[in-house]
């Protein structure tokens, strides 16, 4: 199996300081990777850098598209990057408000990426949007409602539908469960797990919640002060952590 994303020695600087540095890993199709670490460890910086929202200062990031063509993300022309972002990637933000258009209907939110890919047939767009609302457990009757009328959990699910409707192969997620009540979080995790299985997408997710990583991620990267201090199979990292920082992190989990 060839990786969908290959990351080599990536670094992002803020002035003299490194936000993240010396990050290398391969991501395979269908794999869910969690990046964990405390605030300021560089995990969100890394995610934004990989997703092309921040320009990397060092390293190489290679993405293989659906045709097997390799793209060097750090030197890619902006137009090509936008095309990939529309067709092959998704980005789910922590606050649904940042990832949704709040002043248009739920249906329009879901259809936007389809329209950007050239779909114009109103009936078809509406039908697809309705199907996706149902998939993320929102009644299709809410198609014409605006996201502002939705609860936080519904908004987050709408954001997932908006991203997955074009069948991307790689989805970046920044603390997607961060703003949700615990009771809503469980259902959201179950939905995500099902969609990952059904669609075979690869996911890179930033979370500070090791419980979320255990339930969702095949693989985990642990970050401290901008570097990856440990990487591997999620249950191995949580049950047999090797690095002093990971041992501290794991031993600090509150047992409910």
């Amino acid at each position: 199996m060839t990786p969908i994303l290959s990351v080599r020695q990536v670094a992002k600087r803020y002035g003299q300081r490194y936000g993240c540095r010396e990050v290398s890993f391969d991501l395979y199709p269908g794999e869910v990777l969690c990046i964990v670490g405390e605030s300021g460890s560089g995990k969100s910086t890394l995610l934004s850098t990989l997703a092309g929202k921040l320009a990397a200062d060092e390293g190489e990031v290679t993405f293989r598209d659906v045709n097997g063509t390799e793209h060097d993300l750090l030197t890619l022309a902006e137009a090509d990057r936008r095309r990939l972002a529309r067709t092959e990637w998704g980005f789910v933000t922590q606050h649904a408000r940042d990832g949704l258009r709040m002043n248009v209907s739920a249906g329009a939110n879901v259809s936007e990426r389809l329209m950007a890919l050239g779909q114009r047939h109103y009936g078809e767009l509406r039908a697809t949007a309705g199907e996706w609302l149902e998939k993320v457990e929102i009644s299709a009757e809410r198609l014409d409602d605006r996201p502002s009328q939705f609860s936080g959990g519904m908004q987050q699910r709408l954001q997932i539908a908006r991203n997955l409707v074009t069948k991307p192969r790689l989805v970046f997620m920044d603390e997607p469960t961060g703003g949700l009540d615990v009771s809503v979080q469980a259902r959201f995790l179950d939905l995500l797990r099902r969609l990952v299985h059904e669609t075979g997408i690869a996911v890179i997710m930033v979370t500070h919640d090791l419980g979320v990583a255990r339930l969702l991620a095949h693989r985990t990267l642990v970050m401290q002060q901008g570097r990856v201090v440990e990487a591997g199979l999620t249950d191995q990292i949580l049950d047999d952590p090797q690095h002093p920082y990971t041992q501290l992190l794991v031993s600090s989990i509150l047992q409910a």
Partner: protein, 240 residues
């Protein structure tokens, strides 16, 4: 001729506790074990000798510092000690099952779906997998009125039986079992023993820790004593 499914050679494992001034705790020292298809091996040894650690090393849940852990997966040997995460996930999904004492699942998912999940991952439809999951739950005496409920509120024994159903529903060639009958009554223990016998009969290799000697004597073809690691003095302090 016997077909080997597990071939672990010279496995060593030392825990280093960085929060205890880097205290090194050797648990496995040069352990080798081979298990054939249709065979059940019971791990034995005093508490703290590393039975559970060895079982977890076979599953690649624990990292080992030395040795190879060969698992026969789809016609080829995979060394779990050096395999990449996505390869380990693949081996676990199709070849290597693990039944632990504890159920770790997404909250608010029904017992039926939790049990059905491994079959869905094998490509079964949700509906077909649910039918089989129901058969397993029924066999393990989980009342049908509980099937649609998440197991968080179940009793310890019920949770363990859900766990056994989830761990055994997909007929994987290798099963690792950590005290599968620990908190079960006699009737349910008999069901689990029968399930393990059936797994052996279809050619699965089983490695288990069975606290209950009667269970062990019924199911195991041979006992394997996990040898004590050399620096016993340190190990004693920590397991005392």
């Amino acid at each position: 001729m016997t077909t080997l499914l597990i071939d672990a050679q010279n496995v060593s494992k030392t825990f280093v506790l960085h929060q205890q001034d880097g205290l090194a705790l050797p648990v496995l020292d040069d352990v080798s074990l081979q298990v054939a298809a249709g065979e059940c091996v019971a791990l034995v040894g005093p508490s703290g000798a590393g039975k559970s650690t060895f079982l977890k090393a076979l599953y690649a849940n624990y990292l080992v510092q030395a040795g190879t852990i060969g698992i026969f997966h789809r016609g080829a040997w995979v060394n779990m000690a050096t395999a990449l995460p996505h390869q380990i996930v693949e081996v676990r999904r199709h070849t290597l099952g693990y039944v632990s004492q504890f159920l770790r699942v997404i909250p608010r998912v029904s017992a039926l779906d939790i049990v059905a999940e491994p079959l869905v991952e094998w490509g079964e439809s949700q509906e077909a997998a649910r039918v089989v999951a129901g058969e397993w739950l029924a066999r393990l005496n989980i009342s049908e009125r509980l099937w649609s409920l998440p197991p968080a509120t179940f009793s310890g024994g019920e949770q363990q039986r859900v766990n056994i159903a989830r761990g055994m529903i997909a007929p994987r060639p290798i099963l690792l079992l950590d005290e599968p009958t620990a908190s079960l009554d006699a009737a349910n223990r008999a069901v689990v023993i029968a399930l393990m016998q059936e797994a052996k009969a279809r050619g699965a290799a089983l490695v288990g820790i069975f606290h209950d000697e009667a269970t062990r004597d019924t199911i195991a073809d041979r006992l394997f004593t996990v040898p004590l690691a050399r620096r016993l003095d340190t190990a004693k302090e920590l397991t005392a």
